[in-house]
């Protein structure tokens, strides 16, 4: 807690006493709130053993939950790769010297960033079948996640490239590299290193958004937890809680990866770009860790 110690003095004897009393009071309040929730769930019989029992059996996991998890991770992995490609291409295109490349790229990125992912998924389904394609739920989810997160990543990449000191590109040109070589060999590697934390936290957003597949009945982890398992055991609340725990563990792990990368890049780089600036420029969710 960096901010905390600034806001109050080291407590003296009276404050310590008061803090202890308040701690006790708030602990009681929190416990009462927890007890209230517990009894409400108890009234509806949500703590009954048979609702939780299925999670102790192997077949619930292997037959129902793990296939959902695999589908979630597959969609997330494919969408992440495609979104990174999309982001790199459009991020660089927005910095092009040619107007006819720069302007359309900017329009595409700004447009897809403004539209909710769920609408893109619906559009992929209906628009695809209009064009005579068979769009599976998987394809629709991957499409929506790719263009939305790709656009956000494009902004991150662009901010990262702009944050590389000018001298780098000038030095590259001075030793006779072509524009594409300067971008590929000098700017992009430095930008990606500096932006790594922002990129990883956007990938966490992408992973969380795979749950939107639930709305179009893609057989993902949320679908397993909120439709498949409750359909077998009539235990919606226990099952959603277990699924939430799985999501939290995966995302916390990715979050720690982002923090670790940030610390590492801060240590190793003399001129690290400010990830917060990129976050403002492109990220939907500010990285505050």
């Amino acid at each position: 807690m960096t901010g905390a110690s600034v806001l109050y003095d080291v407590p003296g004897p009276r404050t310590r006493l008061r803090n202890n009393v308040l701690t006790l009071a708030f602990a009681v309040v929190l416990l009462l709130a927890a007890y209230f929730v517990w009894t409400k769930f108890e009234e509806k019989g949500q703590w009954k053993g048979e609702l939780w029992q299925p999670f102790l059996r192997a077949d619930t996991w292997t037959e129902l939950i793990l296939p959902g998890l695999v589908n979630t991770l597959t969609a997330a992995a494919l969408a992440a790769v495609l979104a990174l490609l999309f982001g790199a291409v459009f991020g660089i295109a927005r910095l092009s010297d040619h107007r006819w490349v720069r302007v359309p790229a900017a329009v595409v990125v700004e447009a897809f960033r403004a539209v909710p992912v769920l609408m893109l998924i619906f559009f992929a389904q209906y628009g695809g079948s209009l064009a005579g394609l068979v769009v599976t739920e998987f394809a629709a989810v991957v499409f929506g996640l790719t263009v939305y997160n790709g656009s956000v990543l494009a902004e991150i990449v662009r901010a990262g490239i702009l944050a590389v000191p000018r001298g780098q590109a000038e030095a590259g040109s001075a030793i006779g590299l072509r524009k594409n070589q300067v971008m590929r060999l000098i700017l992009l590697p430095q930008a990606v290193t500096a932006m790594m934390p922002a990129i990883v936290s956007q990938l966490v957003v992408l992973l969380k958004d795979t749950a939107l597949g639930f709305v179009v009945a893609y057989a993902d982890l949320l679908n397993a937890g909120a439709r498949v398992v409750p359909a077998n055991y009539a235990n919606l609340i226990p099952s959603v809680i277990v699924i939430a725990a799985i999501y939290i563990v995966i995302n916390l792990a990715l979050g720690y990866l982002a923090t670790w990368l940030e610390r590492r890049s801060r240590r190793s780089r003399k001129v690290a770009a400010d990830p917060a600036a990129a976050e403002m420029a492109g990220g939907e969710v500010p990285l505050v860790r």
Partner: protein
């Protein structure tokens, strides 16, 4: 194009619902987020711990899961009701619970990062003239902290406008679900309808972003 013109009242109705969802859950999450931030910087370990657990759990759970939990778990299984006869009103408020619970975790982290930007001397001066912790926070720290985070709060609000579409998961007829219904009704006009709804979101978010940018500049604390 005709489909969009014909269905204009329906489309505007859907966006009106989107606006209502945004405003109500935006206000709730701003207040609750600031309370959470205060908890997370308080001298009491119980409150700090409770705040940390809440924020980390909610921030790392997909919004769709939270809204499904509110709609099916609280609504259907636990029988939480806001209106006895109007089902759509019920799912409206249940999705507001979900949206606010999720967004407030992000508001908390933004406000807390704002608290970290307030110079040390401000809090020390406040303590030196004898203000208590709550007074320091309320009168000195938070006014400065919130001003410095107007821009990130604006982008959170922007994200919230788009996130309201997730309420479609429990059948709230906001813009995204309405768009899907219109797709079903007008199979020949999918592209105009999509463009119409996309334009609607641009119209909603663009002025908001400009306003947030201007406010951030005007209210910036000059140091």
């Amino acid at each position: 194009m005709e489909a969009v013109v014909d269905e204009l009242p329906v489309i505007l109705g859907a966006f009106w619902l989107t606006v209502k969802l945004t405003v109500v859950s935006g206000v709730i999450s701003l207040v609750w987020g600031i309370v959470l931030a205060a908890m997370r910087v308080s001298p009491l370990p119980v409150l700090r711990g409770a705040g940390t657990v809440y924020v980390n759990a909610l921030r790392n759970t997909p919004l769709t899961l939270i809204i499904v939990f509110c709609g099916l778990g609280l609504g259907t299984v636990m029988n939480v009701q806001f209106s006895r006869d109007d089902l759509s009103l019920n799912s409206f408020w249940l999705s507001i619970i979900g949206l606010s619970a999720y967004t407030s975790a992000f508001v908390c982290e933004v406000v807390r990062s704002g608290i970290n930007t307030v110079p040390l001397g401000q809090a020390e001066a406040a303590r030196a003239i004898g203000l208590t912790f709550l007074q320091t926070l309320r009168l000195v720290i938070l006014p400065q902290a919130v001003r410095t985070v107007i821009a990130p709060l604006g982008s959170l609000l922007n994200a919230l406008v788009k996130n309201t579409t997730v309420a479609a998961a429990i059948g709230v007829m906001e813009a995204a679900l309405r768009m899907k219904n219109l797709f079903d009704a007008h199979g020949d006009a999918i592209i105009p309808i999509f463009l119409g709804f996309a334009a609607g979101f641009v119209v909603l978010t663009l002025p908001m972003n400009l306003l947030a940018g201007r406010l951030a500049r005007r209210l910036a604390v000059v140091r």
